[in-house]
């Protein structure tokens, strides 16, 4: 079932891809192949391969439980929030929060996770800033 669904998704995406490629502007100075042919080929091969997967699916993978999915989704949300916070809030605070929360997702112990977050944040900052000389900002401007 999973493989059939996967094949279907690939076919839909590949069809969308071919459509998007067909919207490419055509230059008046073009070579025999042009800008569209190779994307069409890729989309076509993907559709054929997806049909093959749908016709002969592998054994069902063991999917994690709903709870595990929720934890992974939460981890994705944490990382997305981290990506947005990194610029306005400096390195130390977002990193401590994100690392701590990820650590908690892997092993749910609050205090150890908090210590891991703070330790990683400060330790990595020291390495990046002072040993490697990357231009990281520790805290937002004007806090201290």
């Amino acid at each position: 079932m999973s493989d059939r669904l996967f094949g279907l998704v690939v076919i839909i995406v590949a069809a969308g891809y071919i459509f998007a490629a067909s919207l490419t502007e055509v230059s008046f100075l073009s070579d025999p192949v042009g800008s569209k042919t190779f994307p069409y080929l890729i989309g076509g091969v993907a559709i054929l391969a997806a049909l093959a997967v749908m016709l002969r699916p592998d054994a069902e993978p063991d999917w994690p439980s709903a709870g595990t999915f929720a934890r992974i989704a939460l981890a994705v949300a944490v990382l997305v929030a981290y990506a947005y916070m990194l610029r306005p809030f400096g390195f130390i605070i977002p990193t401590a929060l994100a690392a701590g929360m990820l650590s908690y997702q892997i092993r749910p112990r609050a205090i150890a996770a908090m210590l891991t977050g703070v330790g990683l944040s400060v330790g990595l900052f020291a390495i990046f800033k002072f040993a490697l000389g990357l231009g990281l900002v520790a805290f937002p401007k004007g806090w201290f």
Binding site: S2, A14, Y17, A20, T24, S27, L29, S30, D31, P32, V33, S35, F38, P39, I42, G43, V45, A46, L48, A49, A50, A52, V53, R56, D58, P61, W63, P64, T68, I72, A75, V76, L79, V80, Y82, A83, Y84, L86, F91, T95, A98, A99, L102, S103, Q105, I106, R107, A112, A113, T116, G117, L120, S121, L124, F128, L132, G133, L134, G135, L136
Partner: protein, 501 residues
């Protein structure tokens, strides 16, 4: 003799104090990365590329550092295989078969020393093989025109899909995902934006480093969340380290045979180190007279896969340097490094930038000696690394990945893209879709399209031009065979599978 003088020049590059220092640092980092479960040569090198780049190292220095990490990770992978029965990386899988039983029988230190020596033999001889074979192949590669290159790229994808994966159709889908992504951005030939859907951030295309770090490093975090960080590695004990001279001598032919097999597997595009160690182990098992102890702690079962995978790691550099076509996931990552440094691998690399090529080769030889010293007398240090728990390690790896990508482009969009690749990687891994063809597709897509278009410009749109030379036909035949033949040999040749205890 020309080779020797070139090699001497290489040593004069590699032996500068700063490069020597980088080689040693790279060896230590690499061994640590290889030993840590969940980090291997490909994701380890991947997360370090953006950092090496932001450090502003010159091309040779960056290459020296990263290839030392690469070789180091190949050495380090065996440590957790032997002590914990968890391969530190995929190529070290076969070492668990006899290494762990040896450790259980109280011979952990013997197994570590023996596998260290086997790694050295494999890697050292493979580097010699690289020195002999690469310049020859580079000369042949001068005969390659766009039609031949197109067929060669196809060969890389088809053997990668055919031999190194369980399901060809899924490998083909993965290759298409990668190639499809590489098309996004400005068309090289006409300068017109393609497939960007009006998103300005996509005009430059998708940076391959973002995809690599996402698929290799971020995915690993999700996998660990799923497994709850089981397999954690606390409480490893190791006795006194002695050198088991008798065992080493007993394995000398094993090591040489396995090195040969591993090197060949490495040179073939798409096969790589995992297959090298697998083939070396199976060949050894069927060759020796008494194989009843294999799987129960036979010393030859430890020496064979280690010599094989390290030889394959060296062999995989041959097609990567001479043709620009990587033979495995890790060399794909090294190719990404070269492209980041603005070095175009291929035959011209040997004539235009001999300092880079021979400096690299010389530093590989030096790295090997350093690694032997690190991995035999000082192996005890690295055993302690295994006690870093996953709930510290994985968040740390993620944060390093973020900082690396962020310091490279400073763009939040790239970070989001990286998370997207990480999530996609998790689902693909569950569905048993290989991710290496995706990376290869992103790396090679534009070159592949360019060679097709250039071939068609030369021939004025005549498709038969693609099959017009002997080399091209040979490559097409090999590509089709490489993709189709494994379907019929499924029973005999299989990708090494994860072993559950």
């Amino acid at each position: 003799m020309e080779t020797l003088s070139l090699l001497a020049d290489g040593f004069s590059v590699a032996l500068t104090p700063s490069n020597l220092f980088l080689a040693v640092v790279g060896c230590i980092l690499g061994t640590v990365i290889g030993a840590l479960p969940g980090l291997g040569p490909s994701n380890g090198v991947a997360i370090l590329i953006p950092l090496a780049f932001s450090l502003g190292l010159d091309a040779t220095a960056a290459l020296v550092l990263m290839t030392a990490v690469y070789y180091g990770a190949m050495y380090g992978g065996r440590i957790s295989s032997i002590l914990l029965n968890i391969p530190g990386d995929e190529p070290a899988l076969m070492t668990t078969l006899d290494g762990y039983p040896m450790a259980k029988a109280g011979r952990a230190s013997d197994a570590l020393v023996l596998s260290g020596v086997a790694s050295f033999v494999g890697a050292f001889l493979a580097t010699i093989g690289l020195i002999l074979l690469a310049p020859m192949l580079a000369r042949i590669a001068f005969l390659f025109g766009p039609a031949e290159y197109f067929a060669l790229y196809l060969l890389a994808f088809s053997t990668l899909g055919g031999i190194a994966s369980n399901n060809q159709a899924k490998a083909a889908i993965a290759a298409c995902i990668g190639l499809g992504i590489s098309m996004i951005g400005l068309d090289n030939n006409t300068g017109i934006a393609r497939l960007t859907m009006g998103e300005l951030h996509l005009m430059d295309g998708v940076d391959f480093l973002v995809a690599i770090v996402g698929l290799f490093a971020v995915t690993e975090v999700f996998v660990f969340i799923e497994s709850h960080g089981k397999n954690s590695a606390l409480g490893v004990k190791l006795g006194k380290i002695t050198i088991p001279v008798k065992d080493i001598l007993r394995c000398k032919w094993t090591m040489l045979r396995s090195t040969f097999i591993g090197f060949i597997a490495g040179v073939l595009p798409g096969a790589g180190a995992s297959l090298g160690s697998f083939m070396a182990y199976s060949a050894e098992k069927s060759l020796v007279r008494d194989n009843s102890q294999f799987g129960k702690g036979d010393v030859r079962g430890v020496a064979a896969p280690e010599a094989g995978n390290n030889a394959a790691a060296g062999g995989a550099l041959v097609p990567m340097l001479t043709l620009g076509v990587p033979g495995s996931g890790t060399t794909a990552v090294l190719l990404a490094l070269l492209m980041t440094l603005n070095i175009t691998p291929g035959p011209t690399l040997f004539t235009d930038r001999p300092d880079v090529v021979w400096g690299l080769i010389a530093s590989l030889l030096i790295a090997n000696v350093v690694l032997l010293l690190l991995n035999v007398p000082m192996v005890r240090l690295f055993v302690h690394i295994l006690s870093v728990p996953p709930w510290v390690l994985l968040p740390g790896v993620t944060m390093i990945s973020f900082v690396g990508i962020f310091s490279l482009s400073g763009s939040t969009f790239d970070l989001l893209l990286m998370i997207g690749f990480g999530a996609m990687g998790f689902f693909l891994r569950k569905l048993d879709v290989p991710t290496v063809p995706i990376i290869l597709g992103i790396l090679l897509g534009n070159n592949m399209e360019d060679s097709l278009r250039r071939a068609m410009v030369i021939s004025g749109g005549e498709w038969t031009y693609l099959f017009s030379s002997g080399i091209a036909i040979g490559l097409w035949v090999a590509a089709v065979l490489g993709f189709v033949a494994p379907m019929f040999l499924r029973g005999k040749i299989r990708k090494p599978q994860a072993i559950t205890d």
